[in-house]
């Protein structure tokens, strides 16, 4: 009965309660959308990191040839692979890739970056996560701005795949030749010429630093022997198995006599910078997870989460203040009604419950509708694969299309949290209503 009274009161006073309901609707809608955006960015980060640069678990390392020369390579790859396979038989993918630091040089400029050597025969779907860039993304005034030249599958030993931001800096296009300049394992300078076979759309900070050639090319470039590579990458069917998988691999490698670096949660290229200052020689291995390799991207997520939390908190505070105010006005306007109810025997606690239920009903209805609409919008936008034209936005969202992942959990949390806040905001006016004496009703009647 209290609920039906509450709903009736809301409908009667809809001129006063409608703006509040709309405000709550939008706060709930925005909260769900922002949560979906954050979840979407995280999905993109996981996808691009684990598809492009990192396995769920990575076995990298450094081989110290001399005190000042410690290339980031792993030796005894066959042994390593067997040990890892034994430790994690449930792994769905164990591949080794070449990698190392290089300077890519064109006629117009040069960039320091990391070169990754992949074997398309082992990883045929490697480039599925990338899209070819439009000519306008890297050329000044292209004749056909929307054209997407290039072919990822054309990557051969003499080919290289770069990103649009790199192509723009180097002023190259598909078919142009660039030179990669590196230091080999023995510390000698080596170079190789590569033809650009494809230019991919930029995907955030990781695509500023990385480029792709074949594994054979990295072996020749860095003059690696047969059983030497850059990194062994391990993937599971469920990314949630990462931490446990890393521990199993670590224990297995230690048991088999592989010497590991003490664990520090940092990507391999950060570790590589400090290796020459350490006093040891030979091979040491480093185990990292995809999160550690992508730690440079986590700041994007944290920044967005912080900013959106601040924004939503501000909005929520404004709305809550509005609710408190409106409920005070409502209680004042219903003084005679409440006084009459008290006069005919309604207890203070029931009056309190009545006012609170009214606020909670408003809160629940508005936030539930806003949340549901938010989920629908997020789902429709994601399904439509809306493309992102702005480089800056693409860098932040780590994707070339809008990806919002709304979940029942975030919807429920939004509705519960906002409804709860509304309830809390309604407590002071509800308490004020309980203090209305029955005699007040009679005085109002006068």
């Amino acid at each position: 009965m209290i609920l039906s009274v509450a709903i009736r009161s809301l409908l009667v006073a809809r001129r006063r309660t409608l703006p509040l309901a709309v405000a709550l609707f939008f706060v709930a809608f925005l909260t769900v959308i922002v949560a979906a955006l954050t979840a979407g960015i995280k999905d993109n980060m996981v996808r691009s990191t684990t598809a492009m640069w990192s396995g769920h678990v990575n076995v990298g390392g450094a081989f110290k040839v001399t005190p000042t020369n410690a290339p980031a390579v792993i030796t005894r790859v066959a042994e390593l692979r067997a040990a890892v396979k034994e430790a994690v038989p449930d792994a769905v993918r164990i591949v080794d890739r070449g990698r190392g630091r290089a300077k890519i040089v064109s006629e117009h400029g040069s960039i320091q970056l990391l070169v990754n050597g992949i074997d398309l025969a082992q990883e045929p779907s490697f480039f599925q996560g990338l899209a070819l860039a439009h000519a306008r993304e890297y050329l000044e005034s292209p004749a056909e701005p929307e054209r997407t030249p290039g072919d990822f599958q054309a990557l051969t030993k003499a080919g290289i795949v770069i990103f649009a931001n790199q192509a723009k800096r180097l002023r190259v296009e598909v078919g142009d030749v660039v030179t990669l300049r590196v230091e080999t394992m023995r510390g000698q300078t080596n170079t190789m010429d590569f033809t650009v076979v494809a230019i991919a759309q930029s995907l955030g900070p990781l695509s500023w630093l990385n480029t792709f050639v074949t594994k054979g090319a990295t072996a020749e470039l860095f003059q690696l022997k047969r059983d030497v590579s850059g990194v062994l990458q391990v993937n599971f069917d469920d990314i949630g198995k990462t931490d446990a998988g890393r521990e199993r691999v670590r224990a297995a490698l230690v048991a088999k006599g592989f010497v590991l670096f003490p664990h520090v949660a940092e990507p391999f290229f950060v570790k590589a910078q400090t290796v020459t200052t350490e006093d040891w020689q030979g091979q040491r291995y480093q185990l990292t997870t995809w999160e550690e390799e992508a730690s440079s991207l986590v700041w994007i997520l944290k920044t967005i989460a912080t900013l959106s939390s601040l924004l939503l908190a501000t909005l929520a505070i404004v709305v809550i203040i509005g609710i408190t105010n409106t409920m005070y006005i409502s209680v004042r306007d219903r003084t005679r009604e409440i006084g009459t109810l008290r006069a005919i025997g309604m207890s203070r606690s029931r009056v309190l419950r009545m006012v609170l239920v009214e606020a909670l009903a408003l809160g629940f209805a508005a936030t539930a509708m806003g949340g549901v609409v938010g989920v629908i919008v997020a789902t429709v936008v994601t399904a439509a694969s809306v493309s992102i034209d702005s480089d800056a936005v693409r860098m932040i969202l780590l994707s070339d299309t809008v990806h919002l992942r709304a979940s029942a959990g975030s919807l429920l949390a939004t509705v519960v949290a906002l409804t709860g806040l509304v309830g809390v905001a309604a407590i002071p006016p509800a308490l004020r209503a309980t203090r209305i004496a029955p005699v007040t009703a009679m005085q109002s009647a006068d």
Partner: protein
Amino acid sequence: MSITLAFALALVSQPTDADLVQMLRVVDERSTAPGDYRSLAYLEQKAPGKEDVAREVLIYRRDSDEKLMLLFTRPKAEAGKGYLRSDGNWLMYDPTIGKWERRSVRERVGGSDSRLSDFGKLELAKEYTPKHVGDERLGQVAVTHLALTAKDGADVAFPSCDIYVDKLTGNILKRQDKAASGKLIRTTYYPKWSKLYSETKKADLYIAVEIRIFDEVEKGISTMTVIKETDLRPLSANIFTKAWLESKTR
């Protein structure tokens, strides 16, 4: 064997491997002296689209002990920075952080194309195996063209190089350093040499007073080193120490 005789022999007959090694030894020996050496050098680096960078460096050498020190004195931002070679190790000192770090002989000095190895004594005979390519001309000058391949285990930046040695003087006039792939990485010209009598050597010491390095991969990048004020008087005993270099920044 004098350099002229060595090259003369090469002129009249196809030099043997031993002749070529001897040629290299003579080339090395001309720029080496057992005593001390101090000079003031200017390094100027040019790169397209960037401002030219000029540095003033003091070079101290004691070839008998294989000691070498480079001390940057200008610009102000780099004053006090230095490299020290001692006991076969290269160390770099950064006065802004007060730390010493190990470096390799392949280190680019000040980020330029010149390497630490360019400032030390030549050891071509020890590090490379020569092959006679032919007799050529560099402008008006007759030169002997040798192709050098690094020996196994040699700690060199470039696994192969070509040198062009002046037949008359025996000085290197041009050097082309190559990558492991065979691609030309940099070309170095030594257009000017000066000669100083060394008391410790009891012979002349030849010093390349102008060195021009051209990057062949990143076209437009070049480094010029000009050596001035060379002094062969003995240096103080503690000069090749960390403490000495650190004291220069205090």
